[in-house]
Amino acid sequence: MAEGWKSLVSFRGPERRGTTVALGVLSFLIVLALWWGAAALKLLPPQYLPSPAAVVVRLYQLFVQYGFIGDIGISIFRVWTAFLISALMAIPLGIMMSSYPIVNGMSQSLVDFIRYLPVPALVPLTIIWLGIGESSKIALLWLGTFFQLVLLVADDARRVPREYIEIGLTTGAKPRQILGSIILPAMLPSMIDNLRITLGWCWTYLIIAEIVAADSGIGYVIMSARRYVKTDEVMAGILAIGIIGLATDQAIRWLHRRWFVYLA
């Protein structure tokens, strides 16, 4: 037992899955306890810091009375639509960038230019061009993720060891076959990781999109609650995003472990 405790604080010590999960739960409980304590002691007035219980109750009411599930649904729809469009465009383009100098030369600086533009700065443009409907929100999310993802994918493909490609060349594979049978499977684990991280960014941009111009979605709920200083409702919205994010992330990690058993 003492040994087990020691390994937790030893430099680059071994990690055990069960312990990691337990520590994760513990960290949540600590934050929750601090929050609860601060609220119970009324360190801040409830308008600023509602208690955890009040937030959970509010979250429940949002679901039951205000159809919050619909807002969550529309937000998830926006995130995933934009994310899938980004991924479907970025994966082939990124791989082509790593494969052919002409594609890389034509796209690298363009992508870099757009990549550095702050997404909120593009909100006015998307609204002027696409109005305030779904398409402008999805376009904004796409702008925020596609240009990042394409470079990440290109790097994943470039990191495939030269030897793997030469094994293909010396077994008579054509470029197409090398892409399909070697480069894609070799880069897939790190690409899935990058997709998972990019999906997280989508949520950041979603809230920007929904705060600026929307009449539905989690961001809209948070924004209208702010207007009436319903802090518990704001926090309930934030809590909902956190839970969705955590669940999605864990689900993808779980899939990652199942798909890539050979990495274990």
């Binding site: 060891p161 030269r162 030897e163 793997y164 030469e166 094994i167 060349l169 010396t170 077994t171 008579g172 594979a173 054509k174 076959q177 049978s181 070697i182 499977p185 070799a186 897939l188 890539f260 058993v261 050979y262 990495l263």
Partner: protein, 268 residues
């Protein structure tokens, strides 16, 4: 006379934009006959790997010609199989599928025939009972055997091996050398094997080409075939002939290794 493989005044310069470039291979000519095991021996960084990669069509020739079976080498293909020191097999494939990969792009064989050939070579390298293992789960030596089996299964005319046992421990290395020598003899494969390990060179080779430090020139050609029997075993390593050969070649390479170090330092 037509040779199986002929290198005719081959040179290589790696271009540096605007600069003079690095001269790696200097006017190398040699002939290799079918079924021969040829070892390129030389200090690290001398260019021997580059020369072998040029035979494989993985590097271009700056000047001179490489003729394999009457045809000039223009690029990589299935005729020229490769075994690398690292990343020599695919981690996302099981052992058997790695071996089968050598045949994956052949359209002249059906699936059952491919399975049969893959199993045959897996058996030859002694890994039949590991066919369902992931390659990350087996030892480094076994991984190299998988790569060798894959390359044999692909049925190349010539096998190019770039320090394939360089990362293995001494015991494993001896065992794999023995197995490889045996396999080459049985299959009558033409092999070019690159190494900087003198004992490995003597044990495996029919002929050794000792290269100078960069730019690589042939320093000496040593026919082992005349001195050691074709079938080799571990006892041979303790024989007088082996010992003498080893010492003679070590003497040759020692000065080159020193020069090579100096070149590296100056180049950096």
């Amino acid at each position: 006379m037509v040779h199986f493989l002929e290198l005719d005044r081959v040179s290589k310069t790696f271009g540096i934009n605007g600069g003079a470039g690095i001269h790696v291979i200097d006017d190398v000519s040699m002939q290799v006959e079918e079924g021969e095991v040829v070892v390129y021996l030389g200090p690290s960084g001398c260019g021997k790997s580059t020369l072998m990669r040029m035979v494989g069509g993985l590097e271009t020739v700056t000047s001179g010609r490489i003729i394999l079976e009457g045809q000039e080498v223009k690029g990589p293909d299935r005729q020229k199989g490769m075994v690398f020191q690292s990343y020599s097999s695919f981690p996302w494939l099981k052992v058997i599928d790695n071996v089968r990969f050598g045949l994956k792009f052949r359209t002249d064989l059906d699936g059952r025939e491919k399975d049969r050939i893959a199993r045959h070579y897996l058996q030859m390298v002694g890994l039949a009972e590991f066919e369902e293992y992931w390659v990350n789960r087996i030892s480094g030596g076994m991984r190299q055997r998988v790569a060798i089996a894959r390359t044999f299964a692909a049925g190349p005319d010539i096998l190019l091996m770039d320090e394939p046992f360089g990362a293995l421990d001494a015991q494993n290395r001896e065992f794999l050398q023995l197995q490889l020598r045996d396999l080459c003899l049985k299959e009558r494969k033409t092999v070019i094997f690159v190494t900087h390990d003198v004992e490995e060179a003597v044990f495996l080779a029919d002929r050794i080409f000792v290269f100078s430090a960069r730019p690589a020139k042939i320093l000496e050609e040593i026919s082992i075939r005349d001195l050691l029997p074709p079938a080799r075993d571990l006892k041979l390593r303790e024989s007088e002939t082996f010992f003498k050969l080893r010492n003679r070649i070590l003497g040759l390479t020692r000065t080159q290794a020193l020069r090579s170090e100096q070149i590296e330092v100056q180049g950096a």
